[in-house]
Every structure is written in structure tokens, then in C-alpha cells.
Amino acid sequence: MRTILHKQAGRAGWVLLLALGLSAVGGCSESLEVVQPWDRGELAGDLMRPDLNTLEQTDWDHIYFSKEGSAGGFSTGGGGCGCN
């Protein structure tokens, strides 16, 4: 019983923390200066693109999924048993 309560309390804590974090970012966004479309030259460049080399990240995710005890978050490794 104690373990179940601990588990639920821990999960609720994380959900609360995430909600607070998301609200903080959402709330802060209103007070931040809005970056206009014509100010996004640097964001659109190769150095800032999140999709510059997505395949490399996919490959690393699969290696970590196969060799480590935890996975998830930024993306999912998935596929294959990772038995080797």
C-alpha cells in the first residue's frame, strides 16, 4: 500500500512539475518580445535548424536503446529487440 502511494505521489509530483514548467514557459512567452518573421534569418540558417541531421539522432537513439537501461523523451529508438 505504502509503495503504491509512494508511486502515485511520485507520478503526481512529476505531472505537477511538468505542468508548472509548461505554464512557466507559456506564461513567460507573453512577456517576451515576439520574434517577427523578418527577424528569423538566423533561426532559418543551417546552424539553428533542428532538422539539420535528423538521421544521425535516429541512429544514436537506436544505439542507446540497444545498450542502455532507459529510453524515451527526445524521441523513441524503437524497432528490434536490441538483444545484441
Binding site: P37, P50, L52, N53, S70, G79, G80
Partner: protein
Amino acid sequence: MAAKAGEAHAQSYVKAKQLRYDEGRPGVTVDESELEAVIQFEDNDKLNLLLVNDVITGASPTGIPQSQTTTGASSVAGVGVLARGQGFTPSPEKRQAATIGYSWQATREIALNAMANQSHESDYHSDGGGVGAVLELNKKNTTLAVNYRAANDQVNPKNVAIHPEGKGKKQTEEGSLSVSQLVGKAAIVTLGGFYGKAKGQMNDPYKKVMAGGVEIFEKRPDRRENFGGTAQVKLGVTDGLSMDLRYRYYTDDWKISSQTVQLGAIMELSEEWLVDGHFRHYTQTGASFYKPVFASVPDYYSSDVRLSPFVAETLSVTGIWRQSENWWYDATLAKYVQVATGGGGAPSNGGEEEEEGLPIFNDSHAMLKAYVFSVSAQYRF
């Protein structure tokens, strides 16, 4: 299919890549061939396709400490699972995988996406799929993304004759939520959370333990639940340099907790050349049922080092040659190291004094050391 605030229009391309993951003998070597296509349509819809072919050779530890190995190659021959140092190279194993995804720009602010993937090995088959949504707010300065993925796997090990309980099904699900915020003309902050659960055949059918002096196949709980959070900051430092800091916290009901910190940088050396590098530090606690050797047989037991407490580090450098508007090439050289951290009966370094320095540079006690090499060619249109 994660989206980030301020994301530029993606470019259509087809990319062919060849990768080698090499632990050295008698460890695992994977030769991977990949073909990726991303087609960007005029209305901002996007189609993704990825085909993968792996050839896997070598062997990985069964879990039995080498000094206590009592069986030879016969019990598991041909499946790449012999204990280290036995000097046996099984026949190559192959894996084919395919992923297809489509992102639909439903309105100016909302994009919906769906994906499906399949992975097949002779002893393992996985079918998966997922859906997601991306919501742009605040003149595209804030992006909310939500994703759900599920997979149905079938485990069909080659050693089923000697391990009848090794066969079975596994279902996994994961949901994630993230928010990205532009905090400047060249700065993005992203926070996220994820929750996942799995049930079914969770054992690695080839892993064994030494319990009460007898060698038996491992037994893990048939359920697992995990959750965690991520944070990322991407910053344009100068005109020719951007940096990226990532953090992930993970915890599950097998009592594994992990923390990951990754620092990356991309530098523009010239109009044609980019250098992309990252350093990753990962640490995890061991599963509650992990031990290298068991005195008796508990409810659950595993000696798989992937469930042990350890630190892992990665150092990777990629050179990208933007030869022309249409043709890009890249090459990567990387090193990955795992070092046991003790506690929970983890594999020890023989009682020797811990040496100082990052494991990536001081790997004399590494329980796993691997090099990754890759080259790719990309046609952009």
C-alpha cells in the same frame, strides 16, 4: 516528428548512409545501410520515409561472469550471445526496418502527423505506429507538440527448444508533450515530459544468470512503467557557431533512474564546411532485480549489464560538406564507452583504485567500448 518554435521550412532530400558500429572482437559489429527520403510539399505537408538494413556479427555477454561460464557455444550458437572471450563468431544476423510518416498542415497553426514502422529480425518482429499534433501559438514563437506511439512486438528466439518461456508478445506505449519557446532571435528553449508503459515478454531470451551455482535463464517482471522530463536550450552564439544543451531525467518502476546531459555545437568553418560535434554523459542506477551473481533464486533476476548501474559517455564529430546547393556529404567519427559504477552488485574493476578523468578518455576499465563511423550523401531538391 518533433517541431520547434521558429522552425524553418524543411528541404526535400534523399539521403543514403552507411554506418559501422564496432565494439571490437568478440563484441558486436553492426553494418547499417540506410536510405532516407523527406518530401516537402508546397502546402507545408511533409512525407518521411526511412529504410534500414543491419548486418550484425559478433557476440555480446550472456550475463554469466566469464570466470563462472560453465556452458560452451552449443547452447546458444549462432545467435550472437556468447560470453565475451569465448572466441566464437556466430553467423551474421540481419535486421530490416522501415518507417513512413506524414505530416499534414491542417490549418496555419495546427499540423497533424501519423507514422508507422516495422522492424524484422529472424527472432524478433515489431509493428508500431503513432500520431501527433503540433500547435503554433503567439505568432509561431511558441510551439506545443503532443505525440503518442505504440508497438506490438513478437519475440521468437532461436533457442526456444532450450528456453520454452523465451517466446512471447510485448506491447509498448509512450506519450510525450513538449513546449518550445523562442526567447530571442537565435535562442530556443524546450521543456517536455514523457510517460511510457510496457507489458508482456520483457525477458531477453538469451540472457542468463548464475543462481545458487546453477546457470538459468533470466526472469524480469512482465510490466514496466516509466516517466521523465526533458529540457533543451539551443543558442546561436555567434554568426558561425550555435550550441545546444540537453538534459533528460528518466525513472521507472524497475528502480532504474537515469540522467543524461548532452552538449553539442555546430560551427560554420566556411560557406561549404560545417563541423557538428557533441559530448553526452549518461548515468543510470541498476534495476532492483539486477545482480552479477545470485546466491539463491528470487522472484525476478537478471545479470544483463544494461540493467546494471553504470556511466556512459559519447564523443562524436561530424564534418558536413555542402558541396553545392543540391549535394551534401557528411562523415562521422564517434566513440561510446560504458563504465560500471558499482553498487547493487555491479561488475567491479577488480578492486583497483578508481582512476580519474572522463571515461571517454580513460577507458581502461570500460565494460563496453565502441567506435561508430559513418558516411552519407544527400541530394537536396
